[in-house]
């Protein structure tokens, strides 16, 4: 995916705004600045414990705006529907989409619908585009400009819940598991943090998981990031499924998590604020920035050793025996 973006899209579309490669573009319109982002949602299955493609399509775009430091305001929604898709399912999906938008305080102001012949798309695809307002103070949050050794890495709760919940719903493991996707709009919790503290960087660890976001960050700032294995918040069922299938939870997708980098004192404040919020009760400091290992993410394991954590290459494939 990275190569595709660099070799094809950036090559032809490249401009100063796009080349920032942040979750939302920040645009100047006269004296005001807005954040602007778009995302397409294709997921199998459409319904999973903790949500469905409709809820996901709202949360995903809201979170892309929120982690850039913006206040999400408006959404567009486009549907590509496969001929014969059950109306009843569509209605449930649209209902949860509307409910999530209301909960997050954004308005759906425009949209589009296309119905395609059977086999031309897989049941239902949704695209959402979002616009938000961004203040001058928050506009540099995705740029990771001021990160120094000693800064803390925080997350607002357990890792890997979404990826495992979806996988469990999709594949025929027949595990009786209570893993629920963490799919949630993070704009409220992020706003609380931004209003009361000064954070240096935020991003939502979706596809590719915590490992991929932190590797990109380490590469950008050319410092090392150390994660403490014992500090990683994990649901037991997620940990167990990862053990069974040979997956690393750090590579599994999240849809309701934000990674935050903050200075030491600010970090402790961030932790306190997030733990007070219902979307952050299991928040934790999971690591810190160091001078060593420039450009790398290193996991300090519980047995005293350490190992390098790479970005996810391709799909996670379960081991054979």
């Amino acid at each position: 995916m990275h190569d595709l973006i660099a070799d094809v899209f950036m090559k032809h579309f490249g401009n100063d705004i796009l080349s920032e490669q942040t979750d939302s573009a920040i645009l100047s319109l006269g004296s005001d600045e807005i954040a602007f982002t778009t995302d397409s949602f294709v997921i199998d299955p459409l319904f999973f414990p903790g949500g469905n493609i409709g809820k996901l399509a709202v949360c995903g775009t809201i979170n892309d705006l929120a982690v850039t430091g913006a206040v999400p305001l408006y959404l567009s929604v486009s549907f590509i529907i496969e001929e014969g898709f059950p109306m009843k399912d569509l209605e449930i999906i649209v209902e949860s989409l509307a409910e999530e938008a209301k909960k997050a305080g954004v308005l759906i102001v425009t949209g589009d619908t296309k119905v395609v012949n059977k086999g031309k798309c897989d049941k239902l695809f949704i695209n959402t585009t979002g616009v938000g307002r961004i203040s001058k103070r928050d506009r540099n949050i995705s740029r990771a400009l001021d990160i120094k050794p000693g800064d803390l890495i925080l997350i607002n709760g357990t890792i890997g819940d979404h990826g495992i919940a979806v996988m469990n719903a999709r594949e025929s493991f027949n595990f009786k598991s209570a893993v629920v996707s963490d799919c949630a709009s993070l704009n409220t919790i992020i706003r609380e943090v931004l209003d009361k503290t000064a954070v240096k960087f935020m991003r939502d660890p979706t596809r590719g998981g915590v490992a991929t976001v932190l590797n990109e960050l380490a590469g950008k700032i050319q410092l090392g990031i150390v994660l403490e294995e014992s500090a990683l918040p994990l649901e037991t069922a997620v940990e167990a499924m990862c053990e069974l299938l040979g997956f690393d939870p750090l590579h599994i997708a999240n849809e309701g998590k934000v990674l935050i980098v903050a200075g030491k004192d600010e970090g402790l404040k961030v932790l306190e604020i997030m733990r007070e919020n219902e979307l952050g009760t299991k928040s934790a400091i999971i690591g810190y920035v160091v001078n060593e290992y420039p450009g790398r993410v290193v996991l300090q394991n519980q047995t005293g050793g350490h190992r390098i954590i790479d970005s996810l290459a391709g799909d996670q494939l379960p081991r054979i025996c």
């Binding site: 940990e239 040979g246 047995t303 050793g305 350490h306 290459a313 054979i320």
Partner: protein, 359 residues
């Protein structure tokens, strides 16, 4: 998490490490045969906890890595037959064949599906009566009984469009072949899950004829450290024997039900291993009375001549003669994102493990 946390206790690991340092006087080489063991050793950084006298080398125990190029090429040939659905365990899909991989062939419109259990392939067969389902059977004594059970289930349910392309292999012949070839090994850390099926008698002749210690080991760091201590103590005392460290899972006689399944469905044959060549009686072939489920008997395919990738030293690595860092392709031309050899593909492959857990 129960059965995990107890076996990852730092204090316990360090106390075994201290004990090892006091017991070990001779320079010894131990081979961990199983890919799962290689992964655990590096994931938990165990080499740094061993005395300098003990060297660990990795063996041919990753099912994806030992499947020869020809197997992938033939699987690709099956996938190109009209109305054939190829079903496979995940890792195999990315292994490069001589010219392409199953993953690339899938993008080219072949119907290739990743499954988690062979029984899923049976369900696909039932749901697609107009198609033929070929399951790629790889793995050792651990996965072969499941394939056997699926074949017997297909016979029972009269499913006639389910076929297995067997590359299943068994462990003892390859371990013996390595010793006979002269690879310097003082003892084996033997795969725990193989013995959960077979029991421990399969290794008796390694101890009695070859004078080598064998400890059947679990997969957590405490298991591994304890197994290394047991082997080292045997070697120091000059009393090589077969012992079981993984007693919470392995019984001396193994799993009789699984053994009967294996015996009913498979017979041994000489088989080809990537980088090791043909090893006598080391593969599992579907017995004649079940040949209607044997993909090799049912489909005739032409497979172009297979060739190994240039510069790849997987074969030497699988024999424990070299480590991935000795390979000029490692980490440069050959990475998990763009693998050249099979050992870089599988999560249990030695090269993938070294890459993932490099420090």
């Amino acid at each position: 998490m129960k059965y995990i946390d107890e076996y990852r206790k730092k204090d316990l690991i360090l106390s075994i490490s201290e004990k090892l340092k006091s017991v070990s006087t001779k320079e010894i080489v131990l081979m961990e045969v199983c890919g799962g063991h290689t992964m655990a050793i590096h994931r938990f950084g165990l080499p740094s906890l061993l005395p300098a006298t003990i060297r660990l080398i990795s063996g041919p125990g990753c099912p994806v890595c030992v499947s020869p190029q020809y197997f992938i090429d033939k699987a690709l040939a099956f996938s190109r037959i009209p109305n054939v659905i190829v079903t496979t365990y995940g890792d195999l899909i990315r292994v490069p064949g001589s010219t392409t991989s199953l993953e690339k062939e899938r993008a080219n419109r072949s119907d290739i599906r990743i499954i988690y259990s062979v029984l899923e392939a049976l369900t696909i067969a039932k749901n697609n009566p107009g198609k033929s389902i070929v399951f790629l059977g790889i793995g050792f004594e651990t996965t072969a009984p499941l394939t056997a059970a699926a074949i017997l289930e297909a016979r029972k349910e009269n499913i006639t469009n389910f076929f297995v392309y067997s590359a299943h292999k068994i462990m003892p012949p390859v371990m013996k072949a390595l010793v006979e070839e002269g690879v310097k090994i003082d003892g084996f850390i033997a795969p725990g899950h193989v013995s959960a099926i077979t029991g421990t008698a399969i290794y008796d002749n390694l101890a009695s004829e070859c004078g080598l210690g064998v400890v059947v080991s679990g997969f957590e760091p405490v298991d591994m450290m304890q197994s290394i201590l047991m082997l080292t103590s045997q070697i120091e005392a000059g009393t090589p024997k077969v012992e079981v460290q993984y007693q919470r899972v392995v019984k001396t006689n193994g799993n009789k039900t699984a053994q009967h399944l294996l015996a009913e469905v498979f017979e041994t044959r000489d088989d080809s291993w990537r980088g090791l060549g043909v090893i006598k009686e080391s593969g599992l072939k579907i017995r004649k009375h079940l040949s209607t489920f044997d993909a090799e008997q049912h489909f005739e395919v032409r497979v172009p001549e297979s060739f190994e990738p240039k510069g790849c030293i997987c074969g030497l690595i699988l024999r424990g003669l070299k480590t991935p860092v000795d390979c000029s392709l490692f980490g440069k031309k050959c990475t998990p994102a763009d693998p050249v050899g099979a050992c870089m593909v599988s999560g249990e492959g030695t090269c993938a493990t070294y890459y993932k857990y490099r420090s």
